[in-house]
Assembly symmetry: C2
């Protein structure tokens, strides 16, 4: 298979005039490898068989990768119109596992293999023409016209591997080796695994923008983790080692399994790994296109749930705390083992990129110093659910590549397999699957005293909350500065020597003003009545990262990442406490403040009049009370008797500011004339709300 060497190209360095040819070669080799893969299907019938009852037949994947090029290039404006709308519609969606009713055969009327082959060829010619004709300047980056072309090639590389997994689930009699004949076909004496110590280190994960090779959006960003010392198994777990678990009744004993794992095991009635075929008392091993006598020296290929159960069982057996590595621990292993990245190889150091075998091979075949198979052979499951690194941005041409998997249910696999090509074979590669899913994936266990730090960093999607997030941390709209920054400036203007003062924000919402205030005041308490709203503030404070999704138009959405460092808040701030509490029933300890802010709070209170009548009790003498309100009184919130104004009293209209003055005058003097603070709230890309909040500033007598 050496002819298909599929190293992803350097998009930054090199001679511009050679780069076009290099990309063209990469495209042609990928396309040809894809063609070759489908030649393992002996006849057309195999194209229409379900390898997995919840997945489309291979004919879908045969068409899908070509469709993808077209759809992305249309989206990018590089080709003017669809090539074959009927095919492109049929082959666009449905890559993933579905629910049973999506797959009703009646809903599909697949075209013939010839039709799809013709379509593939048309697309191929179109892309070749495009590669030859598009203006090309280095570096090629996210914004370059060549990016969606590379995206299509890498997408095809992914599907070469995932299709190979599907082929591995078709009946062997329908398959042939074709070009995939470099199968490692002998078995060797299984090795005894052992644990080797890896010292801890401060790890920085994430691919820098401007890196020389193509990356999917979720590879970028920066994430730091202090990896503690651990011990890792020298080898991937072999079929022989895994057999101990099977033979010890591992699949019959619920105690080793997570709840999710046991639920899966029960549903699938699994008793051993999927690619093991039991024949009486002996096992055979299913490879991609053939069934061979069990290779005990090969890595066990399992899903995460099985790997996790194995670790739990083995922990109990050995008295050691064994588990899978996190993503950061895997990178530590890479660093420890001094693994070169794919773009620096002359020849692959492991069983990867089809450079050695068209199958797995024994776990002791490729050494990287102390360890074996740090990359290659089979993917390695980790404990880490996938999520974007802080600073993650969605690529606009493929906005659902990553984010649907940021749900805490998709775990990362690392290291690549024998058939991982292109981007898949790079160290930055980050792929993730549902924990019950099968890929060419196995595992290495580690021993560690530390519970893995599980980051989900899911996206806030509560509609009202994300509107507040954008209002606090997003862009300025319609020429209005964000209201928390206007308030921060107000505090700067109005409060002398804030560094000596305690500040209370009584309606902190998603918290921006409180963060800003913590740059100025001695101490900041930020209270909101709603846990929904305060949660993002706390998340930003604790994790340095806040993610939310805002509405674009219709169903379309935009993904936003806010980093604490973006708002210059990682250093030099005072104690800042976010707390959920009811401003009407504040605990006694919330007293002795020098400055209290109640911005747009009155209209949210059940009794604003009572609030104003007692707020002086929280404030030190000479302290400052800052009120802001849009006076949007609602009977659903407060009884009309409790409104401070906006009603007739004794038949005369009472403006809210007059009502406020009446109530406050016994304990406060007004500092200056009330004035309006106008700010914009984004509801969608084309819809905004502008409020004018009247600010009044009061000094306690």
């Amino acid at each position: 298979m050496k002819q298909f060497n599929l190293k992803t190209p350097n998009l930054v360095e090199g001679k511009q005039q050679l780069k076009r040819q290099e990309i063209l070669d990469y495209f042609n080799r990928t396309f040809s490898l894809d063609d070759e893969l489908y030649k393992t299907l002996k006849d057309e019938k195999a194209f229409y068989m379900r390898a997995d009852q919840l997945r489309h037949p291979l004919i879908f994947y045969y068409g899908h990768t070509s469709c993808f090029y077209v759809n992305k290039l249309v989206l990018a404006g590089l080709i003017p119109a669809p090539i074959n709308p009927a095919i492109e519609s049929m082959f666009a969606i449905g890559v993933d596992e579905m629910s049973w009713d999506d797959l009703n055969d009646k809903n599909y009327n697949w075209p013939s293999v010839d039709e799809v082959t013709n379509y593939r060829n048309t697309v191929k010619s179109t892309i070749i023409k495009l590669i030859n004709e598009l203006p090309l300047t280095l570096p090629i980056n996210w914004e370059s016209a060549f990016w969606p072309i590379i995206m299509g090639i890498e997408h095809q590389n992914i599907h070469i591997e995932t299709s190979s997994v599907l082929i591995r689930q078709l009946p062997v009699e329908m398959l042939q080796n074709a070009s995939f004949d470099a199968v490692y076909n002998t078995d060797e004496q299984p090795v005894q695994n052992e644990l080797i110590t890896v010292e801890g280190a401060e790890m920085q994960l994430g691919k820098p923008h401007g890196h020389h090779s193509y990356g999917w959006d979720l590879e970028y960003g920066t994430y730091n983790e202090n990896v503690k010392e651990f011990k890792a198994s020298k080898y991937l777990v072999s079929n022989a080692e895994f057999l101990e678990f099977v033979e010890d009744g591992g699949y019959q004993n619920e105690q080793w399994w997570t709840e999710e794992g046991w639920s899966w095991k029960t549903y699938k009635k699994s008793e051993y790994p999927l690619f093991w075929h039991k024949n009486g008392h002996s096992y055979k091993l299913r490879l991609m296109t053939m069934l061979v006598p069990m290779k005990w020296s090969f890595p066990a290929e399992i899903n995460y749930l099985e790997a996790k159960a194995f670790c739990n069982w083995k922990s109990a057996k050995t008295g050691k705390k064994l588990r899978l590595p996190t993503e950061a621990e895997w990178y530590r292993l890479v660093e420890y083992s001094d693994v070169k990245d794919a773009t620096e190889w002359d020849s692959a150091p492991g069983n990867i990129n089809l450079e050695h075998y068209t199958s797995p091979c024994p776990v002791d075949k490729f050494s990287f110093g102390d360890f074996y198979d740090v990359v290659g052979n089979v993917w390695q499951w980790t404990e880490s659910p996938i999520t974007g690194y802080p600073g993650f941005k969605v690529h606009p041409l493929y906005d659902d590549f990553s984010t649907p998997t940021f749900d805490g249910k998709h775990n990362i696999i690392k290291g690549g397999s024998w058939i991982s090509t292109g981007n898949e074979a790079t160290l930055h590669a980050r792929y993730a699957f549902r924990r019950h899913f099968y890929q060419h994936a196995g595992f290495r266990y580690i021993e560690s005293e530390f519970e893995p730090k599980i980051r989900i960093d899911s996206y806030e999607i509560d509609e009202e909350v994300v509107i507040s997030c954008e209002e606090n941390y997003g862009e300025d709209y319609l020429g209005f500065q964000k209201y928390p920054l206007q308030l921060a400036e107000l505090l700067k203007d109005q409060i002398e020597n804030p560094a000596d003062k305690k500040f209370l924000d009584l309606n902190c919402s998603t918290g921006r003003l409180a963060f800003e205030a913590s740059k100025m005041f001695k101490e900041v308490t930020a209270i909101d009545t709603s846990a929904r709203f305060i949660r993002p503030a706390i998340e930003l404070q604790n994790n340095g990262l806040l993610r939310y999704v805002i509405k674009d138009e219709g169903d379309l959405q935009l993904y936003k990442d806010v980093l604490l460092e973006d708002i210059k808040l990682n250093n030099n701030t005072s104690p800042l406490h976010f707390l959920q509490d009811d401003a009407m029933k504040l605990k006694k300890k919330f007293s002795d403040y020098d400055v209290i802010l109640a911005f747009n709070l009155l209209e949210e209170l059940q009794n604003p009049t009572a609030f104003l009548s007692t707020i002086h009790e929280r404030l030190n003498d000479g302290g400052t009370l800052i009120l802001g309100s849009t006076y949007q009184w609602q009977e659903s919130v407060s009884h009309k008797d409790n409104w401070v104004g906006g009603v007739k009293k004794n038949g005369e209209p009472v403006k809210s500011i007059e009502g406020i003055s009446d109530i406050l005058s016994s304990h406060f003097t007004i500092v200056s004339q009330p004035f309006d603070l106008q700010y914009a709230t984004r509801k969608s890309s084309r819809n905004f709300e502008v409020n004018s909040s009247e600010i009044s500033i009061w000094r306690k007598k």
Copy 2:
């Protein structure tokens, strides 16, 4: 009573240095007259008796007029604080007839008469001081500090009359004449009524701003009516003339009564007018403080419902079309009779302003040329429900003087009674009461072939509709021009020779753009799917006037009058048709247009895709289609399959503008790059919505 001559002062002309004294005199005389009125109550008990079961006892009115001064002066900022908040709260509201549960005695704990008298004296001193000290410059107008003082005096004059009506309903044994001893106490031979012709004339009603005497807000504005010739009864209807109706079974015969009238009659079990007291087979007449033998020559004092029943009965008896006059017909009678206004009298030409009697007098006592009692003696009911004249504006210091009566249920009384003083005695006076209510009021009937033109001109209060009214006809907010005017400019820029072209506005809402278009195009059709929204447009087109109420803050509201002439639309416009129709199911006749506008329509349609696919059928070749949309697709409006964009199709995001282009491209070419039209929508004084509607312009191939 001559000493109480209460002519409302000239606020425009005269010597400035004398004006202060003139106002002070007017205040003192009014206050003294009010004092005198309450001296008709023999003892304190009378203050606490209910003259009318649905009205407060007189103690309330005794305190109310003084409270009113204070509350208005506080509101105007002329006195810093309430004088006696407890009293001012208790006496502020409750002038009108109430429902029974508002009047539960337990809810009231009235102060003693002495306490209220003391309060009145304190207020009186305060006002005198204010009149002496306030800066005074002529003219005194709406904005002058003296206006609320005159307002308070005129308010007190009104209550002198309305309290006199309540006193008239107390038991006579509790009353004495006191200063009100100029009762007309003899009866005279009743005169035979007759009808006299009054020629028609073009009448202009409404008091000009800048008029020399005080006016309540509803007196201002301009209203034109072409009054047709009519005949009017020479005299007000006397008790003798009304007796014929009573004796003919008028109160037993439903056919003479309006539905409202019969309902009232049945509820009250009335058999003759309220102030007639039947004693065996003879009647006595109740005057303000005494019961006297029936004065058959006096005007019949009845409510509107009784007067109307009388006219219906008399029409049937005489075969003539008899009814009450409209307000405009009454003014025509004033003009015909050359009646001088109160401010021009030396002596009152009728039984008015307490200048002659402290009771009514025979209907043939005061002649005004051919007619008697054109003003004075008793008020005269009219057919006209009260409403503001076009151009009406609420006075900010008394925003509920008028508008609560603009409901079609309050009819105007004109001409004043023997006890009408101050503003009440002027020709511009406009008072109105519920049709079943009693004042010192009678009537004159007229014969006319013409159905009276009844204007209600009520205020649009539908929250969504008034927001659109303000968006179309109101102010500009946040620096954004109103969207219909932005669209009108767009039409000017984009459409050549509009005077030759037919224009279709498919989402006209409350119609401003259609009006603007009618200045340019040969013909305009304006369609909206909602009758609620199109109604104000039609009202403006037909009546030249549109009224609506917008939200200020809380419950507070602002009243808006829009005149067709304000938007320069009374001349030179083309045919303009407003129609309610569904843009998805337009009748065939809506075709052959040269320009079609669909602004913010797509998002309101059940199937925007179908709409775009067929809209070319309505347009002439070469015609222009202008689309605007905020793309706020909602599943509650249209099924997602019908959205033109804002969704993923074949897995790729499709922006709405791309979807529009796809659909329109078979019949249209795009004229220029789409662009955004931003506009603001006012929701309340402090809350706005800003939308950004994407405009695209298409030429039909």
